[in-house]
Symmetry: C2
Subunit: 379 residues, 2 copies
């Protein structure tokens, strides 16, 4: 017997209600029964996105939704500004370049956030920039970016702001309409507590004009086609039916808790993990902009980071993430997003302590767990 | 209490094993555990596709896999020949045009199949044609096309053959390698007995050269990226984990039966439905090329076709499909594909008889069911 604990930044664990919803007999997608499911899903997504605009459902991963944003906003040869502070910021640039879009990057050191003033300055310096691409939570570094600040900077210009909120939506604050997020992109397997397979995208009125003007070639990602379908409470192509039905389960659970309570839970978990890191004598990778959905921690010197992650996972059943790309082997990342609460964090820290101890790292056993407990006691 | 029966050409009903596989706790996709699932899925798909080549798994509907074929094979300005005999043939043309590809169509009357000789002639008449796009089973009409014949015609030319086998793969014969199908595209929700949400695509060596040469802009659909991932038993982007795990359940079931037995079952069901149609005095829409996965039947004069479908579904729980686009209200379509067997067909015909009778259509009650039984008795 071994219980498994998933503390990874996507996929995140699934509530049993979501698991079992997927197991229901399949229904046809062009029936009143499924149309009722879609209606509920569209309304619930508006609540989560904090938008009055349509939220389109795509059958794709989050990257598909990102590409949807790019090809619907810009034409080949046009200019984008990408705020790049990690692997997922780089993905925006890669997608833009793949579509012949000229990319200016606002590069930020991995582990740091970008200053909205730098965004404003970049827009002022290059009036050809038509869209700014940003990331809510950069999963590769555990940094939350100041989307509100970016929104202020961009909304004062003719450009639009597109945000990759795949990691973070439904877990930390993101006021799509109020903050001036013109295009908000997300996926199913993080804050929304679902398996991967659904992408989501909302589009402001300002951005919709660009959707109609874009000359980028597109079919599956074409939001004009999606708009015609959503106006009839339909999807342009066969939807991932079982995932949409499961989505309604998670949306119901989230509405019952309410966004405020959900965000507070994530913040408390972030605080608890950061307190544990400090108590264990470890170092945060992103102390100045640490996100409340995933914490990146330096692997202490003398410890094999990849072995640490593998031992926790393969021997003790606790899956956390290692570093990606340039940070491979140098970081561990503990997620606290979605269907995770305080006692999962206690389990995660406890397992981290156990394996660190066995690997020869010196610290007082239990000190990390206790620091987390102290944070949770304040609830 | 009402039992529901799904006799639609996608989604098709799910085996309970597939339903419950989706409900398992989620696992992370970058683990040895999921890698083992992927390895099994890739091997099983090769068996179903009857190919030695890689079969890529996409998180998308079948249309996404079709777009993957188009953008990886052709560059803007190049010429494609599309064999169009229904809504899904037209989709190939729409996708090509959306990507700036010049489309020549070989139009076939809805309900008829195309002659491979016409394909050979079209290729001879226009040497600029680089790819031929065809459909295995045209779901909108219930016609099976002669893919083997198309393969012979195309393989004698420098062009490649891409087949939309979304409807039909794993239900009727399609020898991808032997017949010279350079690109074979499919989806999860038909013969493979899964919910929608996965797309599949295989690529021959001849077609792979075009993948490397294509100048069409692409990112999520880029098979060069997918190839790098599959060589490490991975996917380019986060896969639809729960659907891949469910896929292995259906692949296991299909391997246990074997393709030969599966194809024989589908053929017998097709024969049974066609016999029932005849016995009831109804007319087949595609008598000359009727497929063994879905049967299109003319709505008899004086009967409201849409009301017939709705009554069967909403009052009696038996969901069949109506006509699409130009055939709306004029056809009913009964699917016999995937997790459907003889007694589901008996139920479907019995319900059709009941509702036709109540709507005033004159025939001998039980004659359709009996005709189907006679076919099944030969097993």
């Amino acid at each position: 017997m071994r219980k498994n604990y998933l503390l990874t930044p996507g996929p995140t664990p699934l509530p049993p209600e979501v698991c079992s919803a997927q197991a229901r007999p399949i229904i046809h997608h062009r029936t009143p029964q499924f149309q009722a499911e879609l209606k509920e899903a569209f309304a619930g997504l508006k609540y989560i996105f904090q938008t009055e605009r349509d939220v389109f459902i795509l059958s794709s991963s989050g990257t598909g939704a990102m590409e949807t944003a790019v090809v619907n906003l810009l034409s080949p040869g046009e200019t984008a500004l990408v705020i790049e502070g990690g692997k997922f910021g780089q993905r925006w640039s890669e997608i833009c370049r793949a579509h012949g879009i000229s990319v200016k990057t606002l590069e930020v050191e991995w582990g740091k956030a970008a200053d909205p003033k730098a965004v404003a300055a970049a827009l002022k310096a290059d009036l050809s920039i038509k869209a700014v691409f940003a990331t809510l939570c950069e999963t590769s570094t555990g940094v939350t970016f100041d989307i509100r600040g970016f929104g202020e900077a961009v909304s004062a210009s003719p450009a639009v702001l597109a945000v990759d909120a795949v990691s973070g939506l439904g877990a930390i604050e993101l006021k799509t309409d109020e903050w001036g997020v013109d295009v908000c992109v997300s996926g199913s397997q993080k804050g929304l507590m679902l398996p991967p397979g659904l992408g989501f995208i909302s589009v402001s009125a300002k951005a919709w004009k660009m959707v109609e003007a874009s000359k980028s070639s597109r079919y599956y990602w074409d939001l004009r086609r999606a708009k015609k379908a959503i106006d009839k409470t339909d999807t342009a192509f066969t939807p991932a039916i079982s995932l949409v039905i499961a989505l309604n389960e998670s949306l119901r659970m989230m509405k019952e808790d309410g966004l405020e309570k959900i965000f507070a839970r994530h913040h408390r978990m972030g605080e608890a993990v950061r307190a544990a890191v400090k108590a264990l004598g470890l170092s945060l990778f992103a102390p100045s902009a640490a996100s409340d959905v995933v914490t990146s921690i330096y692997v202490p010197s003398g410890i094999d980071g990849e072995k640490l992650v593998k031992t926790m996972r393969d021997i003790y059943g606790v899956t956390i993430a290692g570093g990606q790309d340039e940070m491979k082997g140098k970081l561990i990342r503990i997620a606290h997003m979605g269907y995770i609460e305080e006692f999962d964090i206690i389990v995660g820290i406890s397992c981290l302590e156990k394996v660190l101890s066995k690997m020869g790292y010196k610290f007082i056993l239990g000190s990390g767990v206790k620091a987390a407990q102290e944070v949770f006691l304040q609830d």
